[in-house]
C-alpha cells in the first residue's frame, strides 16, 4: 500500500486544526491585499499603490 502525504504541516486548536499553515497564511494575506483593501481604496488616503504579494 502506498500513501503519500502532502508536504505540509497543519495547526491544531479546534476549528483551525484542519488548516494548512503556510498556504493559509498566504491566502489570508492575499484576501486582504487583493480583495478587501482594494474595495476600500476609494476612501483611503491617496497613495502610490505598491505591488502586493500573495
Amino acid at each position: 500500500m502506498k500513501f503519500d502525504f502532502s508536504r505540509h504541516i497543519a495547526f491544531g486548536e479546534g476549528a483551525i486544526a484542519e488548516r494548512l499553515v503556510v498556504p493559509t497564511l498566504r491566502s489570508l494575506r492575499a484576501y486582504l491585499a487583493s480583495e478587501l483593501i482594494p474595495s476600500l481604496e476609494e476612501w483611503l488616503p491617496r497613495i502610490t499603490a505598491s505591488p502586493s504579494k500573495g
Binding site: 502506498k2 500513501f3 505540509h8 491544531g12 497564511l25 486582504l32 476600500l40 483611503l44 488616503p45
Partner: protein, 214 residues
Amino acid sequence: MTTPGYERKLRRGDKHIDSLDEAVQDWLDRGGYTLVEKTDPQTGYQIICAEIKEPPDPCWPLIIGDAIHNLRSALDHVAFDLAIAHQQATKPEQPISAERARSSEFPVIPYINERTGATGDAEHRFDSAAGSKLAGIHPDAIAVIKAAQPYHRGPQSETHELWLIHDLDRVDKHRELIVTAAAAYVQTFALGGTGFFPQHLDRRRGSSTRHKGR
C-alpha cells in the same frame, strides 16, 4: 510618498510567512517525519502513522503568531487610515481626536454571538461596534466593511478570512498556537490493491470536502 501603515504591516507579515515556509521546507527536506505502516493485531486493520524523526522547531508557533498579528494590524491600520482620510476631506483644519484614534479598530463580527450564543443579532452587533470603532469614516466605506463581515456566511462564518485572522490573533495572544507535525488530507480513496490516493488540496474557499486523519 510614505508607504501606508497597512502596506508595511502586510510586508512585515510576508517576511514571517517566508521565513516559516523556508523553515518548514528545510525540516521536510531533512526527513522531519516518516510514514510507518503497521497492522493492528486486534482488528487486523492497516494503520498508517507519521513517525516524528525531528520535532518541529518550537519557534514555529511564534512565527505564525507574528505573521497573523501583522495581518490583523493591517486591518486596524486600514480602519484608522479611512478615518484620517475622511477627516481630511471633511474637516481638514482639525486633526483626528485622541478619543477617536484610541477607539479606532476594524470590527470583525461572527454569526454567533460569542457571549450569548444567539445567532440573530449579528447586524446589530456590527452596527454597535461600528459606532465607536469606525466613527468618522465615510458611510460608504462603512457599508463596504459591513458587507465584508463574516456573519454574512451564517454558520460558516468561522471559515471567513476576516474571522480566521481575527480569531487566530486572539488565540495567539492568550495561548500558544499548536503546530501539528503531520496531517493527512484525503479527499478520495480507491480500493483494489493500489491504496489511497490523496489529491491536491482544494484551496478554494468554502469548497472543502476533506477528511482528516493523523
